[in-house]
C-alpha cells in the first residue's frame, strides 16, 4: 500500500510540475535581473495584485533581513505596482493578465519561478502582507538561520501565519505607504489555534486565530489554514502543493517533532487587517478569484465594513519574537 501511495504522490508531484510549466506560458518578463543572483543569495518569491501602498515597507523589511533578490509576479495591477517594482535593482518582474484562480491561486506561477531560478537557493515564498519573524531575527540575519538549518540537514522551515489586527474599527487608522503595518495592527490571538495532522501529506493543518474567533465562529471548519512552510532550500524536484501550506515531496512538510521535542520555527505576521481590506473585499467579491468562492472576502465585507472590532479583552499586543516564543507560537528549537 505504501509503495502505491508513494507512486501516487510522485505522479501528483509530476503533474504539478507539468501544470506549472503550462501555466507559466502566460508569464511575460517585464524586467529580468536574475543574472545578478549570486550562488548563496537568499531569494523571495511573491505574487501580487494592486499592492502599491504595501510594497515599500515590504521590500525594505526583507532587504534588512538579508533577502538579496525578489522574484515577483504581477497579476494585472492597475495602481502603479508594476512601475514601482521595475525601478528596484533587486527585483525581477513578470506580469500576467491570466486568471489567478486558474493558476492555483498564483502557486503555479511561483512554482515555475522557483523551478527556474530557485534551485540551490534558500527561497522565501510569501505574500506582500506576510512578514517573517524567526528566532533571533533582531540580532541574526536570515543567512545565519539558513546556514544553521543546512548544517542540521533541514530543507524547510515552518512559520505559521499570525493574523494581526488593530484595536477599534478597521477603518479608523489608515495605513500610509512605507509605514510599519504593525504600528496599527499590533494585536493578535495568542492561544486559540487548532491543529489537525494531514495523514496523506504529513503536514499539520492549523486553523484558529482572529478569523475563526471573530469572523467565522459558527463555521470553524471553514476558517483558513494558517500553517505555512515559506522558507525552503529549493530543488527542481520540489513543488508547492497548495499555496505555501504544503509541499511535495511530503518529507518537506515534516517541520515538527512528534516525540515531544521542539524544532525551530518562526511566524509570519499577517498584516491583512488594515483599512485597505474593506475596499479589497469589495473588489475581490466581484472578481471571484479567491479560494472557495471568495467566501472569506464575503465574510470580511459583512463584518469589517460594518465596523466590527476584532480586538477582545484577551488580545495580546505584539512585542518581539521572544514574546511569540514564550507564548508557544514559535520555537528556537536547539538553535541557541
Amino acid at each position: 500500500m505504501s509503495v502505491l501511495r508513494q507512486l501516487r504522490l510522485r505522479s501528483e508531484r509530476h503533474r504539478k510540475l507539468l501544470r506549472k510549466l503550462r501555466k507559466s506560458l502566460s508569464l511575460r518578463a517585464r524586467v529580468n535581473r536574475t543574472d545578478r543572483i549570486r550562488t548563496r543569495d537568499i531569494l523571495a518569491c511573491v505574487t501580487l495584485r494592486n499592492e502599491a501602498p504595501r510594497l515599500p515597507y515590504f521590500l525594505d523589511y526583507y532587504r534588512a533581513q538579508g533577502v538579496q533578490h525578489f522574484l515577483v509576479v504581477d497579476n494585472g495591477s492597475e495602481d502603479g505596482s508594476v512601475e514601482l517594482l521595475e525601478k528596484e535593482r533587486d527585483v525581477s518582474l513578470w506580469v500576467t493578465q491570466a486568471s489567478y484562480k486558474a493558476a492555483g491561486f498564483g502557486i503555479d506561477w511561483q512554482n515555475h519561478l522557483l523551478w527556474r531560478y530557485g534551485a540551490g537557493h534558500w527561497v522565501l515564498t510569501v505574500d506582500v502582507d506576510e512578514f517573517l519573524v524567526y528566532p533571533f531575527c533582531d540580532s541574526r540575519p536570515l543567512h545565519a538561520l539558513t546556514d544553521w538549518l543546512e548544517s542540521q540537514g533541514r530543507r524547510s522551515f515552518a512559520a505559521m501565519l499570525l493574523d494581526m489586527y488593530p484595536k477599534g474599527p478597521i477603518g479608523a487608522q489608515p495605513y500610509r505607504p512605507g509605514q510599519d503595518p504593525f504600528e496599527i495592527a499590533r494585536w493578535f490571538d495568542a492561544g486559540n489555534y487548532i491543529i489537525h495532522r494531514n495523514p496523506l501529506y504529513h503536514n499539520l493543518w492549523i486553523q484558529g486565530g482572529v478569523r475563526q474567533r471573530a469572523i467565522m465562529p459558527e463555521t470553524p471548519g471553514e476558517a483558513p489554514a494558517l500553517n505555512k512552510i515559506p522558507l525552503v532550500h529549493w530543488s527542481r524536484k520540489y513543488v508547492y502543493k497548495s499555496s505555501t501550506h504544503m509541499l511535495l515531496p511530503r518529507g518537506l512538510n515534516k517541520v515538527y517533532d512528534e516525540s515531544g521535542g521542539e524544532l525551530a520555527s518562526g511566524v509570519l505576521l499577517h498584516a491583512k487587517f488594515l483599512d485597505m481590506i474593506v475596499d479589497k473585499a469589495e473588489e475581490e467579491m466581484t472578481r471571484g478569484q479567491h479560494y472557495a468562492g471568495s467566501r472569506e472576502y464575503r465574510a470580511y465585507r459583512e463584518t469589517l465594513a460594518g465596523g466590527q472590532d476584532l480586538w477582545c479583552d484577551w488580545s495580546s499586543e505584539y512585542i518581539n519574537w521572544r514574546q511569540l516564543e514564550i507564548l508557544g507560537l514559535m520555537s528556537k528549537g536547539d538553535w541557541a
Binding site: 540580532s139 515538527y256 517533532d257
Partner: protein, 554 residues
C-alpha cells in the same frame, strides 16, 4: 630568526579565510608566531587571496597542505606538520596552541601569555580515559580504538554502521599498542614544546601512527593519548570553549552571544559564525581590556546550551504547535501544561458548588466547559486567556485542543471545571484526561438524575434520555477505572457522598491544597433531596435498571 613571544599558534583553516586572516593578525600583533594550515580543498585563488591579505610577516608560516575531511587522520597529520614547522622555525616558542580558522580569542593575547608564563611546564589538553568518557555525544567510545573504520561516517553512513555491526558480531578487536592507554578529548590543545617534541620524535611514532590512522576520529584521541606518555604536568581541560549539540556538531556563536562569551573562563571559543561582525570587532580590538572585567561564570554558558538541548528534545510539556506536535496517546508524560481538576455531578448535589469551590481553593472555576450550547467560562466570559472563544462550534471542532489550549494559556493557574454526561464531551476526551498525570477527576455517579428529579415528570422520552445518560456514565467509569490511569481519579456514588459529605469533600479539597479555605468557608449546603428515593423507585418501576436505586440506597 626573529624574536618572538613564547606562544606559537597553529590554525587549521578551511572556510572563511578572511576571518582566519583577521585572527592571525591578532596573534602576530602580539608577537606570537602563526603557522597556517589551509585545507587542500580550498581553491588556489582563495589561498592567494589570503597570502596577499596577510602580506609578508616574519612570524608567519604556511604548513604543507592536506585534505582534512571531518574526523580523518589527515587532521592529525596537518597538526603534526604544522607543529614541526613551528618548533623548527621558532626556537623561542615554549607553548604551542592548536586552533581552527573559526576560533576567536576571547581575551587579550597578553593575558594568555602571562597565564602560560606562570605555568611553563603545564600541558592544557582535554584527555579523558575512555573508561570514564561518558560525555561523548552520540558516538562510540571504546570501540573507536578497537574496531576498523574503512568507511566515512558523514558520507557513507550506512556502510559505516554496517561495518561496525559486523565487527561487533564477529567480535573483531584490534589490539591497542603497548604502552598506550586510550584517552579522548577535545581536539583543541595547548602543549609545551617539551611534550610536543617528545610526541613528534618518539621512536615508536610510525607504529602509533599506523594504529591511529585506522581509528575513528583520531583528531580527538591521538594527542590526547600520547600526551599521557610524555607529560610532566597535564591540566585536563581545553583553553578553547566548544559546545557540542547532541549530534556532535559544535554550536555556533553569534553576535548576541557577546555577553555570554565574556563570561567564559576560556581563552578562545569556537565555532564563530563567520558573519558575526560584532564578535570579531569586539574581541579582536582592545575593547575587552578597556571595559571593566566580568567574573567568569562558565556554568552559565553550560546552562544556556543545556536549555537549548532540552527544548529540542523534551520541549515544553502541554504545548501543541506548528513545530511540536506529539501524539495525544503518548503514555506516561504530561499531555497538558499544568494541573487541573474536573468535577462531575457535584453541582447537582450542592448549592452554588462552583462559587464555593472557587472560595476554598482560591481558583476561578469554570462552569461546564463542554455544555452543549456554549463554553461556560468563569463568570460567563465570552473570551478567555489566549483569546479562546466561548463558541460551542469552535470548541466542538476540536475538543481536545480546546482543553490543551486552555491549559497552556492559563499555565501557572490551576483550572477547575465541571463536566457531566449531559455535556458535549467525547468519550475520547475522558480517556485523554484519564491518562494525563496533570488531571484530577472527581465523579459523583448518578448525580445526573437530580436535575430530572427537580425539573420534569417521568414519561417515555425522559426515560430514553436518562438511559442514554446512564450508558455514557458507565462508559466513562470503565475508562476511569482502567488499569493504566495516570490521573488522580475519585469516584463515589450519590449514596456514599450523602452518607458522609464532610469527609468526602474534605479529602478532595485537601488534595487541592484547600484545607485553609475549607476551615474558613466550611462545607457547601446540600440542595433539597426530599423524595428523591421515591423518584428512583418510580423510575425503576417505569423500566430503568434497578442498579441506580441500589447504589443510592447503599
Amino acid at each position: 630568526m626573529t624574536a618572538s613571544a613564547p606562544l606559537g599558534i597553529i590554525m587549521l583553516c578551511h572556510t572563511a579565510l578572511p576571518r582566519a586572516a583577521q585572527v592571525a593578525r591578532f596573534w602576530l600583533r602580539a608577537g606570537c608566531p602563526v603557522v597556517l594550515h589551509v585545507d587542500r580543498a580550498v581553491p588556489e585563488r582563495e589561498l592567494e587571496g589570503l597570502r596577499a591579505d596577510l602580506g609578508s610577516e616574519p612570524l608567519l608560516r604556511f604548513s604543507p597542505r592536506h585534505r582534512c575531511e571531518w574526523g580523518s587522520w589527515n587532521i592529525v597529520r596537518a597538526s603534526q606538520d604544522a607543529a614541526e614547522v613551528m618548533l623548527g622555525d621558532f626556537p623561542e616558542v615554549g607553548h604551542v596552541l592548536l586552533s581552527s580558522g573559526s576560533c576567536l580569542p576571547l581575551r587579550p593575547a597578553e593575558e594568555l601569555l602571562a597565564f602560560l608564563r606562570d605555568r611553563p611546564d603545564t600541558d592544557f589538553i582535554e584527555s579523558v580515559s575512555i573508561n570514564h568518557a561518558t560525555w561523548i555525544m552520540g558516538g562510540l567510545s571504546e570501540e573507536r580504538f578497537t574496531l576498523y573504520f574503512p568507511f566515512g561516517w558523514r558520507r557513507q553512513r550506512w556502510l559505516f554502521d554496517t561495518a561496525v555491526e559486523v565487527q561487533r558480531k564477529l567480535e573483531i578487536r584490534r589490539e591497542v599498542p603497548r604502552p598506550l592507554d586510550p584517552h579522548m578529548g577535545s581536539q583543541w590543545w595547548c602543549l609545551t614544546r617539551a611534550t610536543l617534541q617528545a610526541i613528534l620524535t618518539d621512536p615508536k611514532r610510525p607504529r602509533y601512527e599506523r594504529y591511529f590512522r585506522r581509528n575513528w576520529i583520531p583528531d580527538e584521541s591521538y594527542f590526547q593519548t600520547l600526551v599521557r606518555l610524555h607529560d610532566r604536568r597535564v591540566e585536563n581541560r581545553s583553553l578553547t570553549l566548544v559546545k557540542f549539540d547532541r549530534n556532535g556538531r559544535p554550536y555556533l556563536f553569534y553576535d548576541d552571544h557577546l555577553q555570554l562569551l565574556r563570561r567564559s573562563d576560556c581563552f578562545l571559543a569556537r565555532k564563530i559564525w563567520p558573519e558575526a561582525d560584532k564578535l570579531y570587532d569586539f574581541f579582536l580590538s582592545d575593547q575587552p581590556t578597556r571595559l571593566p572585567p566580568v567574573t567568569p561564570e562558565p556554568a552559565k554558558i553550560d546552562r544556556y546550551f543545556e536549555l537549548a538541548e532540552k527544548q529540542r528534545f523534551e520541549g515544553r510539556a502541554g504545548l501543541y504547535m506548528q513545530s511540536r506536535f506529539p501524539s495525544f496517546d503518548t503514555v506516561g508524560t504530561a499531555r497538558t501544561a499544568g494541573p487541573y481538576a474536573a468535577f462531575s455531578g457535584f453541582e447537582h448535589l450542592f448549592e452554588n458548588f462552583e462559587h464555593w469551590l472557587g472560595q476554598v481553593t482560591g481558583t476561578r472555576p469554570h462552569g461546564h466547559l463542554y455544555a452543549p450550547d456554549r463554553v461556560q467560562f468563569h463568570g460567563g466570559a465570552q473570551v478567555w486567556h489566549g483569546a479562546l472563544s466561548a463558541s460551542g462550534a469552535i470548541r466542538d471542532y476540536n475538543p481536545y485542543m480546546f482543553l490543551t489550549n486552555l491549559l497552556w494559556a492559563t499555565r501557572g493557574e490551576v483550572q477547575c471545571f465541571l463536566f457531566g454526561p449531559e455535556d458535549r464531551l467525547p468519550d475520547g476526551l475522558v480517556d485523554f484526561m484519564t491518562h494525563d498525570p496533570n488531571a484530577r477527576i472527581s465523579v459523583l455517579t448518578g448525580a445526573y438524575l437530580l436535575p430530572y428529579f427537580r425539573g420534569r415528570k417521568v414519561d417515555g422520552d425522559l426515560l430514553h434520555h436518562i438511559g442514554e445518560m446512564q450508558r455514557r456514565e458507565q462508559a466513562w467509569l470503565t475508562i476511569l477505572r482502567s488499569r493504566w490511569v495516570q490521573a488522580q481519579v475519585e469516584i463515589c456514588s450519590l449514596g456514599e457522598m450523602l452518607a458522609d459529605p464532610e469527609a468526602r469533600l474534605r479529602a478532595i479539597i485537601e488534595a487541592m491544597d484547600g484545607a485553609a479555605g475549607l476551615s474558613v468557608h466550611g462545607l457547601p449546603a446540600l440542595r433539597p433531596m426530599e423524595g428523591f428515593d421515591r423518584y428512583l423507585v418510580q423510575l425503576r418501576d417505569k423500566g430503568l435498571p434497578p442498579a441506580i436505586l441500589k447504589e443510592f440506597q447503599c
